[in-house]
Assembly symmetry: C2
Homo-oligomer: 202 residues x 2
């Protein structure tokens, strides 16, 4: 099977999108892109993950960066994945509160869907019990927001938090990011997602 | 050897930077980044290659995109690599003429070097004899411009044009882009470059 479309995808988000600390420097984004090519799709993947980025940072930059990469005439896709850094405490308060964080996601999705096919991959846990609680709460809000706009949302946090591969790699690393196996794990969840564009032939 | 620095690199350029048509979706950028990590450097690589981008396109976007990724407090590096698309004919004329193309490189380098460590990787050939002649002429101008600003420049075009691995892969592909072996070849040239930041311990 060779799909004839010229698919271009921007993956916009934080360090987990960027693939931080992956010794292979591929992250889950590089792996799902290579899998799509192996399945016969002509895919160009742009990794727009930025370390430390919150929903506020993504909201400020996603549009210009996607516009430069998704010309009319190609099938433009955008995958958003952020939120974990919003829930980081600074001086006792989350960097971006739950209300603003949810509003940022809603604004970004509403604008993006008028031009592109859009998906949301929920944030992963970061290995700190209290922050992970905030992330799980945010995930529920994000899932709701995406559903209201009829945009598929893939939840990751609860599943990864109890996965021994993820937990061990994060513990052996900087306490937040996994290694190659953890990124492979996210990639496998994306590839198994019924809403993923580049699945195996049915 | 473990280098203690927090090195962040933006690779800014065109489809050859992006790694277009690499079945592994890594390109030379992903390979040199993984090699740096394997050599003990803490490297975060941002691939800002965009298909079809000319020097004019890069000049318009590089600064905002690098600023979002290279915070003060990290060692910020920028590698520029573009020019092949400038030399593409549209309605009988190059998309960007040699004078403007050279001025674009000079402007970008002069601004970038005030904030970041900067390197230039010359454009590769694209497999069309006349366009490759224009690219080689542009390369000479680019090398001069970089030298005037004391910025290391790695020439690729002449070497790749006569390399059988490169030529065969480009011929078997879309006529412009190589496959995994061609990108590996560029990576090996970058890694062997005495001006590369992340060489093996001397």
């Amino acid at each position: 099977m060779k799909d004839p479309g010229d698919h271009r995808i921007c993956f916009v988000g934080d360090s987990f999108v960027q693939g931080t600390l992956d010794p292979e420097c591929r992250g889950w984004v590089g792996r799902v892109a290579a899998a799509a090519r192996a399945r016969g799709f002509d895919v160009t993947a742009y990794n727009l993950g930025v370390r430390r980025d919150t929903s506020r940072d993504v909201r400020a930059r996603w549009e210009a960066e996607c516009r430069a990469r998704l010309p009319a005439g190609c099938a433009g896709h955008v995958v958003f994945s952020f939120g974990a850094n919003d829930a980081t405490l600074e001086e006792g308060r989350p960097r971006v509160g739950e209300e603003e964080s949810t509003a940022n996601l809603a604004a970004v999705l509403a604008a993006a869907r008028t031009h592109y096919a859009v998906r949301v991959v929920g944030p992963p846990p970061v290995g700190d019990a209290e922050q992970d609680e905030r992330i799980l709460r945010l995930c529920a809000r994000y899932a709701e927001t995406a559903a209201e706009l009829d945009i598929p949302y893939l939840p990751l946090a609860a599943k990864l938090a109890e996965d021994p591969v993820w937990r061990n790699e994060v513990a052996a690393s900087d306490g937040s990011h996994p290694g190659a196996a953890g990124y492979r794990l996210i990639a496998s969840l994306v590839l198994a997602w019924p809403s993923w564009w580049f699945g195996p032939a049915p």
